[in-house]
Amino acid sequence: MTMPRRLPEMVLGRKFPKITIDQEKCTVPFLCKKCLQICPEAVFHVTRVMKYEKRLEEMDPRIDGYFVLHATRRDRCTVCNRCIDVCPVDAIKIEV
């Protein structure tokens, strides 16, 4: 059975918006969580810093740099700029 047909967000040749997150400014994303909860398309994703030797320790979200924000589903981003408006430290930049 051949693969399902492509879906709209997989329109070939479509350029996805480039989302850059300034890690110096955005230090405690898990506590702040403003952009994560405002994005209508749930583009962002917060994970703990993936260090192998630290894998058995609990990570305290209050400590800078233990959690890091990614824009994993940037193909869903509609550049509505809600995250930029809501971010208290202006860490997010989006270029179409």
Binding site: M1, M3, P4, R6, L7, E9, M10, V11, L12, G13, R14, K15, F16, P29, F30, K33, L36, Q37, E41, A42, F44, H45, V46, T47, R48, M50, K51, Y52, K54, R55, L56, E57, E58, M59, P61, T72, R73, R74, D75, R76
Partner: protein, 285 residues
């Protein structure tokens, strides 16, 4: 039947449904390591940093789409789908009645905080009342080894409590997806919704990963009075309200058979029928 049933199902138990086969819950499942693979199965949890991924990632897929290379997009989707089948990570959608049956077979059920909601919506589930995820199997007994993953601790429950809790989740509108950590070892039972659950999201957006359930929803037009409650519960975009006939209409090719519309309908107008009974859906998983 679905590929999991073909491999792990047994006709004696639950006429071939793989999750009804008690041998898939046996203790020895836990040691089942595919030869040559390190940290597969429950140890290689997403939080461990050791979850090495072979093959293409989502960024490769985005790059291929942006480049506009059709064959590469197809190949990457095939590879992503093959890998999720081989490691069996996102398993299969289960309706409520099957979910309750599975909880009878399973031992060592622990309510835990959900990983996806923590990552996608930064929701911090710290105490027992907020947990929306469920860890299953003997692997849960080692939960102290992963303090980050089980930050709020684990609430071990007996099957009755687990079933009551699953009914509560169903009332709220979460789909029940059985998660495998190295098929057929069942490691988790997720309560999912769109777009928070990554397994559900990849299934709806990219068409890979989570398998449809063994059932498909069907509306009984005589009973349905067009109240529309079911429409808000469908996470798959398969159920629409047909204004002309004032009835709910289900696109059975998109329906994942999660049964939320069936349990949500106050008049019982929607019933889940076996996917096998609809020949056209035989290969639609």
């Amino acid at each position: 039947m679905c590929y999991l049933c073909d491999q792990y199902g047994d006709q004696q138990y639950g006429n071939g449904l793989w999750y009804m086969n008690p041998y898939n819950y046996a203790r020895n499942m836990y040691k089942l390591r595919l030869p040559g693979e390190v940290y597969k199965g429950p140890e290689a949890g997403i939080e461990t940093g050791e979850f090495e991924r072979t093959g293409p990632t989502q960024d490769d897929l985005f790059a291929a789409i942006e480049k506009g290379d059709a064959t590469e997009v197809d190949n990457i989707i095939k590879a992503l789908d093959a890998r999720s089948r081989q490691s069996g990570t996102p398993g299969q959608v289960l309706p409520l009645k099957d979910a309750l049956a599975v909880l009878d077979l399973m031992t060592c059920i622990g309510l835990i905080a959900c990983l996806c909601r923590k990552g996608v919506r930064a929701i911090d589930e710290r105490n027992e009342h907020e947990y929306t995820c469920m860890g299953m199997g003997v692997g849960m007994l080692k939960w102290e080894r992963w303090p980050e993953r089980y930050k709020g601790g684990v609430k071990f429950v007996n099957p009755e409590e687990a079933q009551e809790w699953t009914r509560e989740m169903d009332r709220r509108g979460f789909c029940h997806i059985l998660m495998l950590f190295g098929a057929p070892f069942i490691g988790g039972f997720c309560q999912c919704d769109y777009p928070d659950c990554m397994a559900l999201r990849n299934a709806v957006d990219l068409g890979i990963g989570t398998l449809k359930s063994h059932y498909v929803a069907q509306v009984d037009y005589d009973i349905c009075n067009g109240c529309g409650i079911c429409a808000s519960r469908c996470q798959w975009g398969a159920l629409k309200f047909e204004a002309t006939t004032r009835k709910a209409s289900i696109d059975q090719f998109k329906c994942y058979g999660c049964g939320l519309c069936e349990t949500g309908c106050p008049r019982g107008a929607i019933t889940l029928i076996e996917r096998v009974n609809l020949p056209a859906l035989a290969e639609v998983w």
